[in-house]
C-alpha cells in the first residue's frame, strides 16, 4: 500500500487525488487563514516516494495532533530530484512567512535546499541521514533521525559486539543512500578491527540477478552479510541468498524496516535477519509508542515506520516551541539549538550542529512474522566511535 497521495480521504486514491489537488490550488491562491505557516516539502513522487510518503504522514499527523496552534501546512512535491527540491522549497517559502519547513529525507535534495533555506532564513526539519548536511555549518538544518555517522556505529557495533562476527561481507548499492552508508560502515568496521572478507559497492538499484554477488560472498567464506542498500536490491539479495541455502546472519540498514519492504518476503525468509533503525514504532515496545503506532495505523491504514515517527517528533517539537513563544523563524532556530524535547521515540537535543536524535535500535525478525522485535538499543555516547 503506497502513501504518496494526501491522506485526507483514505480509500479511493482518485478522490484523494482530486481533493489533494484542490487543496494545493487553494493553498496557492488564498491568503493564509492560520496563525503559522509550516510547509511540507518532500518527495511525494519518484523513487523516494515511499519514504517521502511516510515522512509526510508523520508531519501531517503532528499538525493534526497539535492542540491550540493553528498551522497551515501545504505539501509540495520535490519529485525526488535536487533541482525539483530547490524549486519546491523556493515555492513553499515564497508563498508565505514560514516559521520552519518540514523537508525531504533524501540527502541530495537536502543539499540542494540548503542554500534556499539560508536565503529565506527558515529552519528545515529533516530526517535525512546524510552526514554532510549538518556538518557544513549551515545553521538552518535540524535533523530528527540520527546522523548516518552515528547510526552506522550502532550497525557496526551490533555486528561485532552482539553477534561476535568477524568475517562479514560488506555490500552497498550505487544510490546516494548506499554510497554514503557503505563508506561509513567501512570506516567503523575497520575501527572495530573487523576486516570484511568481501566488499562490493557497485550494485545498481535495478540489478536483478544476485547470483554473481552471492557466489563471490560464498567463495569469500563470509560468516555474515552487512548490507546498506535501498529496499529492492536488499530484498533480492536476502531472498536469493536464502533460496540458495545461505542461512548466515544478515544485518541490514533501515530500508528493510518498512512495511512495503517486508511485504516482499515470506516471513521464514527473514529469519536471522536484523536491521538498524532509528526507532521501531511497529514493534510497539512502550505504551507511548503503541498508542502512537495504533493511531497512525488507524489514520493511514498502514503500519508506521521510524521515518514517520522521526518526522512526527520533529514537527511536534517545533509546535511546542511555537507554543512557548518562539513564533518567528529566527526564534525557532535559536530555540531548537537550546531546547530538549521528550518525543515519542526518544529525547531530542541538538549537539550544536543541528543533529537532534542520538538513539538507534537494532531490530531482528524471528522468521514467523513480518514485524520485528527490538534486539538492542544504542544511545548517546554509544553511537560515537573514537
Amino acid at each position: 500500500m503506497s502513501v504518496h497521495i494526501p491522506y485526507t480521504v483514505a480509500r479511493s486514491r482518485l478522490t484523494c487525488g482530486c481533493i489533494g489537488f484542490l487543496t494545493v490550488l487553494a493553498a496557492g491562491t488564498t491568503a493564509f487563514a492560520a496563525d503559522y505557516y509550516l510547509p511540507i516539502v518532500m518527495p511525494i513522487t519518484g523513487f523516494m516516494s515511499v519514504e517521502g510518503g511516510s515522512q509526510r504522514n508523520g508531519a501531517v499527523m503532528a499538525f493534526e495532533d497539535s492542540k491550540g496552534i493553528s498551522v497551515d501546512y501545504p505539501v509540495f512535491d520535490t519529485g525526488t530530484s535536487a533541482a525539483g527540491a530547490a524549486t519546491a522549497l523556493d515555492k513553499a517559502l515564497s508563498s508565505g512567512e514560514a516559521v520552519a519547513a518540514a523537508t525531504s529525507i533524501f540527502g541530495t535534495e537536502m543539499v540542494a535546499m540548503m542554500p534556499v533555506a539560508e536565503e529565506y532564513k527558515v529552519p528545515l526539519l529533516t530526517i535525512s541521514g546524510l552526514s554532510k548536511i549538518t556538518e557544513s555549518g549551515n545553521p538552518y538544518i535540524f535533523r530528527f533521525l540520527p546522523n548516518d555517522r552515528e547510526i552506522k556505529v550502532a550497525h557496526a557495533r551490533y555486528v561485532k559486539e552482539k553477534l561476535n562476527l568477524s568475517k562479514p561481507a560488506l555490500i552497498g548499492d550505487t544510490t546516494a543512500y548506499g554510497q554514503g552508508g557503505f563508506k561509513l560502515l567501512q570506516e567503523y568496521l575497520a575501527k572495530l578491527e573487523i576486516k570484511p572478507v568481501f566488499e562490493d559497492s557497485s550494485i545498481a538499484p535495478d540489478t536483478k540477478d544476485m547470483t554473481p554477488l552471492l557466489t563471490k560472498v560464498k567463495q569469500s567464506g563470509a560468516d555474515s552479510i552487512v548490507l546498506h542498500t535501498v529496499a529492492a536490491p536488499m530484498a533480492l539479495i536476502i531472498k536469493q541468498a536464502r533460496a540458495s541455502g545461505m542461512d548466515l546472519p544478515i544485518i541490514t540498514s533501515s530500508s528493510l524496516v518498512e512495511p512495503t519492504a517486508t511485504a516482499l518476503f515470506d516471513p521464514a525468509e527473514l529469519a536471522n535477519v536484523c536491521a538498524e533503525t532509528p526507532s521501531a514504532p511497529e514493534a510497539r515496545a512502550t505504551p507511548e509508542m503503541k498508542a502512537w503506532a495504533d493511531s497512525y495505523k488507524e489514520r493511514f491504514g498502514i503500519e508506521p515506520d521510524g521515518l514517520a515517527l522521526g518526522q512526527y517528533d520533529g514537527v511536534m517539537m517545533a509546535l511546542k516551541l511555537i507554543g512557548e513563544g518562539a513564533d518567528t523563524a529566527e526564534k525557532i532556530r535559536e530555540a531548537f539549538h537550546e531546547a530538549t524535547y521528550q518525543g515519542v521515540a526518544m529525547t531530542y537535543k541538538s549537539d550544536g550542529e543541528g543533529d537532534m536524535a542520538h538513539d538507534a535500535d537494532i531490530v531482528c525478525w524471528d522468521g514467523t512474522s513480518r514485524v520485528p522485535g527490538i534486539a538492542a538499543h544504542y544511545a548517546g555516547e554509544e553511537m560515537v566511535l573514537k
Partner: protein
Amino acid sequence: MWLWLAKGIRVPLAAGALVLAAYGLFFASPYELRVLTVCGIFALLVIGFQYIFGHVGAVSLAQATFFGLGAYVTGVLGATYELGFLVTFPLSCLVPLLLAMVVGIPVLKLEEHYFALATLGIGLVVVLIAVQWQEVTGGTNGLPGVPSVRLLGVEIRDRLHLFIFVWSVLILGALIAYQVTRGLYGRVFHLVRESRIAASSLGIDVDRLRFNAFLLSAFYGGAAGALMAHVIRVVSPENLELSVMITCLTMTVIGGRTRIAGAIVGAILIVHLRESFRILESYTLMAYGAVTLLVLIAAPYGLIGALERLRARLIPEPVDSPPTARQLSALTAAKAGGEGGSLLEVERVSKHFGGVRALEDVSLHLYRGEVVGLIGPNGSGKTTLVNIVSGLYRADAGRLTFKGQDITNQPPHLISRLGMARTFQHINLADDLTALDNIAVARATRERSGLQKSIFTVGPDPCLQMARRNAMAAAEMLGIGPFATTPCGNLPYGTRRRVEVARAVATEPELLLLDEPAAGLNEEEQRDLAARIRRIADFGITVLVIEHNLVFLRSLAERLVCLDHGQVIASGSPEEVQRDAAVIEAYLGRDEAPERGQTVAGGDSERLASQR
C-alpha cells in the same frame, strides 16, 4: 524590419517577449524568477537539441549527457578547485564538445535507430562514471557548494541578476541559432533532414553537416548544464539521466523542433506546467505524456509550427517576389569542354544484395554530349547501376572512372562535386521549402556556404541571394519559374518532377543522371519535358535517362542500353535496340508490372536476405 515582422507569427511572439521581459524584470517574485531562470536554461538546452534533432533530424539521446557533463565540469572545477566562471564556463561548453567530437564521427554514420541507441549508450556510460568515480564527482550524493557566477569581480547572486544573466546567455544562443539557420546553410540542414541521399548527391557533405550539428548541440548542452549548476548550487547524476532527456525531447516536440521560439515556448510551458502541479505529479505526468503524444500526432511541427500554419491560412504570408535569374555560367560554358571524349567508364561492375545478383559484370561508356537511354524490365538493375555510379551504393567488384578520375566507391558528395548530378525515381524534395529554395540548396557547395560564414553574416545572406538567382535560372530552364515561390508540397506531381531536374541542373553538372523523369506525366508534359532535357543536353551536358517509356526516349536519346538480370543485353541506336531479339524476349517474356512493384520486389528479396 516591418517586412521581417510580418512573417510567420513574429508580431505576437515579439509582443510575448516584451510581456515576458516586463514580467521578469518588474513583477516576478523571487520564486517566479527562479522558475523563469530554469526556463531559460532549458530553452538553451532545447535550442541546442534542435540542431541535431530538429534541423538534421537525428534522434540523439545524448543531450542530457552533454547537459550533465557541463554541470559536472562547472561543479567540480567550481566547488573543488574554486575556479571562476570565466574558466569553468568555457570548459563546461568545451568538454561536452570534445566528447561529441570523439563519439560523433563513428556514431553519426549509423542508421537512425542505431544512432539513438548509441547515444543512449554513451549517456549510460557517463552516468556510470559519475556514480562510480566518487572521489571526483561525489558519487550519487553529488557535489554541493557550487559557487555562484562571479564575473569581472561582480557576484551574480541576486535572483533578478541571475535571471537577466541566464536570459542574456539564452538570447546570445538564440541569436547564433538564428544566424545558422536563416540562410542557405539552414536550407541545407532542411534538405539533409528530409533526405540524406538527395543532399549528398548534390555535393553536400552530409556527415560533416550532421557532425557540426551534433557539436553545436553538445556546446549548447554544456552551457545550459553549467548555468544549471550555478542556479541549483549542487551537481549530481540526476542531470545526466534519461528523465532530463525526456523533458528536453518533450519541450522540443511541444514547442516545435526547428523553431527558436518553439524552444523557448516549450521550455516555459513544460516548466510551468510542472510547477503549477507540484503535487500529484504522477497524474500530471500521465496527462503530460498524453498531451505531448497528442501534439506529436496532431501538430507535427509543434505549437509554434501549428500557429504559423494557422496564420498562413488566415492571413496569407507576404510572398517574396522571385529574384531575377542569373545564368548558370559553368553550364553555359560546358560546351567548350568539347564533344566526343569519354566522360564515364563503367568497367565490369557487379553488385549483390544478399543472394540476389543485382548487377553482374556490367560495362558502360558514356561520351561527352550524348544522351543515352537506359532501359530494361523491372528489377533488371537500372536504378542499382545509377546508385553505384552516383556513389550511393558500393560496387562489389568493378571500376568506375569519371572525367578520367577513379571514382569507385567514392562518397556521393565527392562524386557530385566532380560534376555529376542525378534525380530520383521517388521524388526527394523538401515539401515545406519553396521550389526555388529546393533548387537553391543545390548551389550550397558552389556558394561555399558554411557554419562560420553564416554565423557572422549581417543583413540578408548573400549566399542565399546568389543561390536563389541561379536557382531561378534553372527553374526557368525547366519552365517552372511561375511556381518558384510555392512550397513544393503544394505543387502537382509533374511540376515536382521538374523541380528535381532543375535542382540537379543547378549544380551545373557535366553528367546528368535522370531516373524515370517522365513517370506519372501525361503525354503533353512528357513532350515538354523531353524538349527541355534536349535543350539542356544542347549545352553540352551528357545525359543518362532511365526510362520505360520508349516513345519518350525515342525523341530524346541517341543511344539505348538495355539491361536484363543485371547484365547489358543490348546497346546501340534506338531502332537497333528495339529490334533486338534479346530485348524483345526480356520485355515480352514476362509480365509487365507497374514500376512501383519493381522496387517492392527488389526490396523484398533484400530484406528477406537480411533477416536470415
